[in-house]
């Protein structure tokens, strides 16, 4: 992905130079939309964002990977169904499953790609009301023991924008029971369930806690003036969580 020359990049001097040493990859597929937003979130957390291209056959030297939102391959066939076969995805799948447990965060279309890749169980179908929905949602952090959620207090309620057409999380009852039993439900919608997701599930993790996927967009809640209510920055915790892990804090 070429960094656009057209939008000035936020050049924040990191407070801790160790943070800038953390390299977080952001994958771009054809049709990815929120890659620049995810990179901005990484920079705002103090780390270094690394552009990754779907067709690359080697995973660059990165400490974690974010698969951002969008409509990769136009959501044609099924959301995420084509992207999972990208050359870079097999590298990411291997690294996530390896002993090194590469941290991977899938947001919206990224979550869909992770379920298609079988890094996470279940699947997403069209919202129960059948319309695209863009709305700020309140999420409860159900598990703050993952690589991407450890900066949050247990049970914390955070406001994160949701925007999608195919956001209804489904899985068979056995899988849902297992997710609950193993504490792998990472986030639940509080109040209104915006899309009919089973058991109000907004996001889940794998057993090891290094892979997390969710439908809402934490990268849209990282900067005052541009997030929910134009003040919310509740999404920053995702990006600081992974730094906690990488820098040995948690």
């Amino acid at each position: 992905m070429t960094e656009t020359p057209l939008i000035g990049g936020a050049t924040l001097a990191p407070v801790d130079s160790r943070l800038a040493g953390a390299r977080i990859g952001v994958v771009t597929f054809p049709g990815t939309l929120d890659d620049r937003d995810a990179s901005r979130a990484v920079r705002l957390s103090g780390a270094t964002a690394v552009d990754l291209w779907h067709a690359d056959t080697v995973l660059a030297d990165v400490d974690a990977v974010i698969i951002p939102g969008g409509f990769s391959y136009g959501d044609y066939l099924r959301a995420g169904a084509i992207s999972r076969f990208a050359p870079l995805m097999s590298q990411i799948i291997d690294a996530a499953n390896s002993d090194a447990k590469l941290p991977v965060l899938g947001i919206c279309n990224g979550f869909q790609i992770l379920t298609e890749s079988h890094l996470l169980p279940g699947s997403m179908i069209k919202n129960d009301h059948l319309k695209f929905l863009c709305r700020d949602t309140v999420l409860r952090v159900e598990n703050n023991n993952t690589v991407w959620t450890n900066a949050y207090a247990p049970g914390a309620e955070i406001t994160i924008p949701l925007k999608n057409q195919d956001g209804q999380y489904i899985a068979d009852e056995k899988t849902l029971d297992a997710l609950e039993a193993e504490g792998r439900v990472a986030f639940r919608y509080v109040g209104t369930n915006p899309n009919g997701s089973r058991r109000d599930i907004a996001g889940i993790s794998n057993a090891a806690g290094n892979v997390v996927g969710l439908m809402p967009h934490p990268e849209h809640a990282v900067e005052t003036g541009y997030g929910p209510g134009h003040t919310g920055t509740d999404g920053l915790g995702f990006f600081t969580s992974v730094l906690n892990t990488l820098l040995g804090g948690k």
């Binding site: 057209l6 049709g31 695209f132 925007k163």
Partner: protein, 772 residues
């Protein structure tokens, strides 16, 4: 995707230029293609012979009203003529290119444009609205800019008409489905319901893009020997419309006979095309670029060639096709979406191809720029088009259509609301006024538009500082400095129907006020002029008056029109729509962090009303709810608008106000409710004093649509400074209330107190009730 024909089978009766020269007697279907006898005669005169079938296809589509502006051109000149040096100061590219470009400073430039996609959106609302977005976004890319936001002013028929839901669901889903897939935040627009638009909805689309000065690209083909390339989606049979009559040139009777008249969009292809073009610009790999919209390859080749310094020669069989049965005429006229044409130097061809391959975008080299001054199009080496490109692209017919003030206009203007039968039961008791406020804010035009805007992504890009329902959308351009832009679109068809000259000015005044309300400095205008048939002298008068009014007002406000679009023949049967000049105003922020939002937030802040209120109920939403349309629209005073704008901009810059909302449709009543509901923060308001000052009753104060007004909330610490500023400028200002966060109500003291929950239920319930 269908199989691609590789063998150039002789399935067409190719009408070559050589053939045309020796067969002058051949009858051509020029009338079926929309040309008039005099226009066809002109084509013959220009060419010195009869046109070939392919040439006829090109001239007919390029000389259409849509592409040539033949009925409006003589009037549109005023936008270029009524411009001062001061207004030109920041204009980097003016009218005539794909979109105008305005200087933002710090090396940044912004380009924006609004266009219509009305008729396709009635026939097939989803694709019509979707491809409306696609087309305007490609105009923005063609200028070298990265598109950063879109907006959609919409006008549909009566909310309770059975067909309105079809158009509403389709158009909104189409705008969302296409726009959301491009990664462009939708930051605003309008939604108006009126039975006058029943058989002719208005679906307008605006796009805005930003670039560095050095990235500005123009649509011209220069440099002899440079290559011409077509890239993006393949060319198919969509959007050909009238060209099907040329199917007589086909020998193949198995070819698909029914072609969709409405283009079908593929947002994924467009998104890839955006990124691919930006990478081409970054590498300086194209000399000139043009998007393919109306009239497809006919338009792109003739415009690129006529704007360049030489000619162009292309081989039409090199065009990659989705449908191998397309005839040369159809290929030239096809409006297949997501295509671009560019001019590339021979040295850059390999680098160009590498970018295409990276993004998996298909391309084909069609030919090259020549020094002949002619546009030559060949089919398997035989010349089927040999024209001076200027005659196709720029020298079309121009008409001075007759126009006259309609004979019914006087009677219409004499039929004022005040004292009319419709005004017989004017609310005055407190409980009547409360019911009237609830009725107003639940009405189709004044109700919450969340049902629509919740289907649009407003977050993507991370630069949306403000979006609907705030007065204007605000986008950050430069993350380091906070440099940004504000955009608003406005029009009031009822005002313009009552008085086209002032109605157009009112549209400009409101858009200007909306931009200034956010604290941005208004800089430029783009307009989408939606009118009925120019062959009707009444409609032509409306158009002429609206253009005259708009161009005069731009002079007074000191902001130039940088581009736009005219959409004519908008009518149901013989009934034209209300004249609807949709005006978009773009403003600039040095730092979007100082933007002023519309909702109250801080408890205890003082609420001030700027401006005075007169009896301006003619054409108002209230009169509309009572089924009345007559009289004169609110008076326009552009000096007051300018003064108010300066106050709002200064107050924003100096941190004197924390919220501001302009007063327009629905008057003070609508503004108070909207400011309260925005952040669910109530207020106590007392209106007696200001009603007495202006000499109006409380009903008029609440529902009149007098222009040049706004409400602002002022922190206690800033009240003295704010008052001093208004006094120094001799601008009427009155403290009407105080923000009351704990009250959870809009308390109009001495009248009634309406709980916010009750207001919200009324305001937000309407669209879900009708559309699910």
């Amino acid at each position: 995707m269908s199989e691609i024909s590789t063998e150039p089978a002789k399935k067409f009766n190719i009408d070559t230029v050589a053939n045309a020269e020796v067969t002058p007697e051949v009858e051509l279907p020029w009338a079926e293609l929309g040309l008039k006898q005099n226009e066809f005669d002109d084509v013959v005169k220009v060419l010195g012979r009869r046109p070939t079938g392919a040439e006829l296809a090109m001239y007919s589509v390029m000389w259409s009203e849509h592409c040539s502006y033949k009925s409006s051109k003589n009037h549109l000149r005023q936008f270029g003529d009524k411009v001062t040096e001061e207004m030109k100061k920041d204009m980097l590219v003016g009218i005539g290119e794909n979109a105008g470009v305005t200087n933002l400073g710090d090396g940044w430039a912004v380009t924006f444009k609004i266009e219509s996609h009305n008729s396709p959106s009635f026939v097939e609302p989803y694709q019509g609205a979707a491809t409306g977005i696609g087309g305007i976004v490609r105009d923005i890319i063609s200028m070298g800019a990265r598109p950063v936001a879109v907006m959609d002013p919409l006008r549909f028929g009566a909310i309770d008409h059975p067909d309105t839901a079809r158009v509403m669901h389709g158009a909104v889903a189409g705008i969302g489905g296409y726009g959301n897939s491009l990664g462009l935040p939708n930051i605003g627009g309008e939604m108006v319901f009126d039975s006058i638009y029943q058989g002719n909805p208005l679906v307008n689309a605006l796009a805005v893009g930003v670039m560095r000065h050095e990235d500005i690209r123009l649509a011209n083909a220069s440099g002899k020997g440079n290559k011409v390339v077509l890239f993006g989606a393949r060319t198919g049979g969509d959007g050909i419309g009238g060209a099907s009559v040329l199917a007589s040139e086909s020998f193949d009777d198995t070819k698909p006979s029914k072609r969709p008249a409405v283009q079908v969009g593929d947002p994924f292809a467009e998104k890839v095309l955006i990124e691919c073009c930006l990478e081409l610009f970054k590498g300086s790999l194209v000399e000139g670029i043009q998007d393919l919209g109306a009239a497809g390859i006919s338009c792109a080749t003739s415009e690129l060639a006529s704007n360049g310094d030489g000619g162009m020669e292309v081989e039409l069989t090199s065009v990659l096709l989705r449908d191998p049965t397309l005839t040369p005429g159809e290929i030239l006229m096809s409006e297949s979406q997501e295509r671009m044409m560019a001019v590339v130097t021979p040295e850059n061809m390999a680098a160009f191809e590498a970018v295409m391959d990276k993004w998996a975008v298909e391309y084909s080299w069609l030919g090259e720029v020549t020094g002949t001054g002619r546009l030559i199009i060949k089919w398997e080496g035989e010349v089927i088009v040999d024209v001076d490109p200027r005659t196709v692209a720029h020298d079309g017919p121009v008409y001075d259509r007759p126009f006259a003030r309609p004979e019914w206009q006087d009677a219409l203007q004499a039929d004022v609301f005040n004292g009319s039968a419709a005004d017989a039961s004017r609310p005055s008791a407190p409980e009547e006024l409360k019911a009237a406020v609830l009725e107003l804010i639940a009405s189709p035009n004044m109700c919450s538009k969340d049902w629509i805007t919740n289907q649009y992504d407003r977050y993507v890009g991370g630069n949306t500082a403000q979006a609907f329902p705030d007065d204007a959308g605000v986008i950050r351009v430069d993350e380091e400095t906070g440099l940004g832009v504000a955009l608003a679109t406005d029009a009031n068809g009822r005002y313009t129907f009552l008085d086209p000259y002032h109605g157009a000015q009112l549209a400009l005044a409101e858009a200007y006020r909306n931009v200034a309300t956010t604290g941005a400095i208004p800089m430029a205008v783009s307009d989408c002029l939606n009118f009925g048939s120019p062959e009707d002298p009444d409609v032509m008068w409306q158009l002429a008056e609206a253009i005259r009014g708009l161009s005069d007002a731009c002079m007074v406000l000191g902001i130039p029109v940088t581009g736009g679009n005219v959409s004519l023949y908008n009518q149901t049967g013989t009934t034209p729509i209300h004249p609807t000049p949709v005006v978009a105003v773009l403003g600039k922020f040095d730092d979007v962090a100082r933007r002023t939002p519309s909702g109250w937030a801080e408890d205890g802040q003082a609420i001030y009303l700027l401006g005075t209120t007169a009896d301006d109920l003619d054409g108002s939403e209230w009169a509309n709810l009572r089924g009345h349309l007559g009289g004169l629209p609110p008076k326009v005073d552009l000096a007051i608008e300018r003064e108010l704008g300066e106050i709002l901009i200064n107050a924003s810059r100096d941190g004197m106000i924390d919220a501001a909302h302009d007063l327009s449709e629905g008057g003070l009543a609508a503004a108070l409710v909207e400011s309260a509901l925005r952040n669910n923060t109530g207020a106590r308001v007392a209106l007696d004093e200001v009603a007495a000052r202006d000499g109006v009753d409380l009903f008029t104060l609440l529902f009149s649509e007098t222009q040049g007004r706004a409400i602002v909330s002022v922190p206690r610490s800033e009240e003295v400074r704010f008052n001093d500023m208004c006094t120094a400028r001799r601008f009427p200002v009155s403290r009407i209330g105080v923000v009351d966060a704990a009250g959870n109500a809009l308390d109009l003291q001495g009248l009634f107190s309406a709980p916010l929950d009750e207001l919200r239920e009324a305001h937000e319930g309407t669209l879900p009730k009708y559309f699910g």
